[in-house]
Subunit: 420 residues, 2 copies
């Protein structure tokens, strides 16, 4: 017997046929004697439809009302899956965020889960053999109003529920069968990883791999929830039921570093196209200039990532290059224009024609020379690096987006990730 | 200053354009200094879409899950209207049934409202000038689960909220501009009534006029809530703001009999086509035979309405005719077939080719001869009466449905209801 949380995203519950398929996955687990909680997203397209309604209603809408509207999507799916499970003879009931409750802070639209008391859910799982079908993405704020967790929030719901019911594992069912060494649509030789550490997955998710929401990985790491990324489109009876025995799954297990015996120097390559580059030309090179640039951007809630300050020729001025999310470029340029007097620069240039390519691996910690080999390989292909940023377990470079595929394929081969 | 509850049905909130129109109606009331609570239905078509989902999920679905799914429609509308009102500078917030809470019994799918504490709503209306936008049709059951009130339940929500906040009036906005003496699509000479008593409206609603849900009228009568039926499609600025002054409205006021000075003998004519007639031929005419027929039908939750027992020729047997809702005819016939041995009849016949035409008026109480004049007028047109039922303020006859229009027009003229 294992206690398992299963999470199904929007495409996995896109219509009733697929919801029935999800129910078969649940049945497989129940038949194997497992206790299940199932976290569901809105049917695909539904959240967009509801979000569009709120935008049409008013461009500047109250986030509390946005949450009331948008959370309706998950509500519908949870009820429908409970009905389908019951029709198969499986005891099940739906739970809305406010019914459990999934207590969050009051940051409507991107709330953070603060507390879940899993006692009652677990009691029903254990004593009543009842499957809990939980509306993902939503919670209850301090003012008794519905909150939502932000896009992809159902992953976080699932991890939080898994921690609350002390699940043995949290299975994230998605439209791919695991986490790949890089995007298989771009690199056919990409391989599914058997295991990946929380830290690496966190970097992968932050740096462009869309398979898991970053925050859910963070939470899983903190709470020690073992995540299994697997496909909901596999025939339900073709995959083994959940088990605490780690040898019996298909998919990718996201787990503690200690559980990974053979550590790769580089585990994966990601690319993120939703970056924009901003260059301030001939900024007065004086103390406090960085604060005068990045302070106003931070105030405007614009996330600045890679920063490069080029050496000035004259000792008087410098060029400052940094990246912001592509969707924030216009706002960033407007903000910088507002502050032109304070910052004192000659010109500002923005471009979305860039991509951030990253190599990620916990093995880097103990291996020097990864950056050097990366830069060399890219230089040999004539790829110019516009910015670089590193952490203990990743190296990111900003390049011309036209070179994305070349760069990713080159690095994938370089670090021995190509499938045989 | 008046405290007004405004209710808008599905077609009135059918899309964002119409929701904006609703907001203009609310603005008119707010501008006039009134305190408003607004009860909204799901956008038209939305409830059907959700109901279809639950049916597709399983023909025999758990009513609690049905309610979780279907209540999502009103949730969306309430949030959207709150957003639109806010964008117009009007303080507003949405309320779900469980947030107020609108406490109901546990009859999921057709729950009855048991209690609403209107204190907090009223406080916000009075102190914060905040418009309460309330999701109609839904409540909170004793087990902390979402309930729904059944089709048309938003009318009942509105009346219950009006009672809870001690509103001066409850305005039911609909796609017609009031209650008519009969269906104006059938009788162009039908007139809008200025006023109608609760009792008459109750009969009108039960007997085919679809403008208000029967239960909402019942509740309004018990709680003394004055209902105004008016059109949401009128330009919002073409109708006067709500007022306790009864001379300033357009629409039909449903109110206490005492407020109606000039009482008509007959106020309105209705017809209901969703009836079916069942005839049991040559039933053994013995004591207890009625119980043996209607007992099993009641057990099967089939509502029997008009009952006619014809005098038997032989003193041994009788023909028994009665009506059931058209949608229940097949079930009723199957049930009677099951019980053939117990009831002892020769044959059973069912027909949906009938219509129930009713004349309604509180004036009947003090005027004899209404039935006689009605039967005479119909006989003169060659219309055969298949069954008759009466109450203190209405007379209903069952006739061949081909004669519907002729009967309704004849009676409408007979009782002086034709517009000049």
């Amino acid at each position: 017997m294992a206690v398992v949380v299963m999470k199904f995203g929007g495409t996995s519950v896109g219509d009733l046929e697929r919801i029935r398929n999800v129910a078969q996955h649940v049945r497989r687990e129940v038949d194997a004697g497992n206790k299940c909680a199932v976290v569901v997203s809105a049917m695909s397209g539904e959240t967009n439809r509801l979000v569009d309604f709120t935008r049409d209603a008013s461009a500047l809408h109250d986030a509390r009302e946005y949450d009331a509207v948008v959370s309706a999507g998950e509500q519908v799916t949870s009820g429908l899956l409970a009905i389908v499970l019951q029709s198969m003879g499986i005891a099940a009931r739906s739970w809305q965020g406010w019914q459990i409750p999934i207590v969050t802070n009051d940051a409507h639209g991107s709330a953070r889960i603060e507390d879940i008391d899993g006692t009652e859910l677990r009691r029903r799982m254990d004593e009543d053999d009842q499957v809990a079908v939980i509306a993902g993405f939503q919670g209850l704020g301090p003012d008794n109003r519905i909150t939502t967790l932000g896009r992809g929030g159902s992953d976080t719901s699932a991890v939080a529920i898994a921690a609350a019911v002390k699940a043995d594992r949290c299975d994230i069912y998605t439209d791919v069968d695991g986490v790949y060494t890089t995007d298989p649509r771009m690199v056919p030789k990409a391989k599914r990883m058997e295991r990946i550490s929380y830290e690496e997955m966190l970097e992968m998710a932050s740096l462009g791999a869309k398979v898991l929401q970053t925050r859910s990985v963070e939470l899983a790491m903190v709470k020690g929830v073992r995540l299994l990324v697997r496909s909901s489109f596999d025939a339900p009876d073709s995959v083994p039921p959940a088990s605490v025995n780690a040898n019996e799954f298909t998919g990718t297990l996201v787990c503690d570093e200690d559980e990974i015996v053979e550590k790769q120097i580089v585990s994966g390559i990601t690319y993120a196209k939703d970056e924009a580059k901003v260059t301030l030309v001939k900024v007065a090179d004086s103390p406090g200039v960085a604060a005068s640039i990045f302070g106003p951007l931070a105030d405007a809630n614009i996330n600045v990532d890679m920063i490069v300050q080029s050496v000035s020729d004259d000792g008087q001025s410098t060029d400052m290059t940094f990246t912001v999310p592509g969707t924030d470029l216009e706002r960033a340029l407007a903000k910088l224009d507002d502050c032109k007097g304070d910052i004192d620069y000659q010109d500002v240039r923005g471009s979305t024609d860039v991509v951030k390519v990253s190599v990620i691996g916990i093995g880097m910690r103990s291996h020097a020379g990864v950056a050097a080999s990366m830069f060399k390989a890219l230089a040999e292909k004539g790829i110019n690096l516009q910015a670089i940023s590193t952490s203990e377990i990743k190296i990111s470079v900003l390049i011309d987006s036209a070179y994305t595929e070349l760069a990713v394929r080159t690095l994938h081969s370089l670090y021995g990730l190509d499938a045989a």
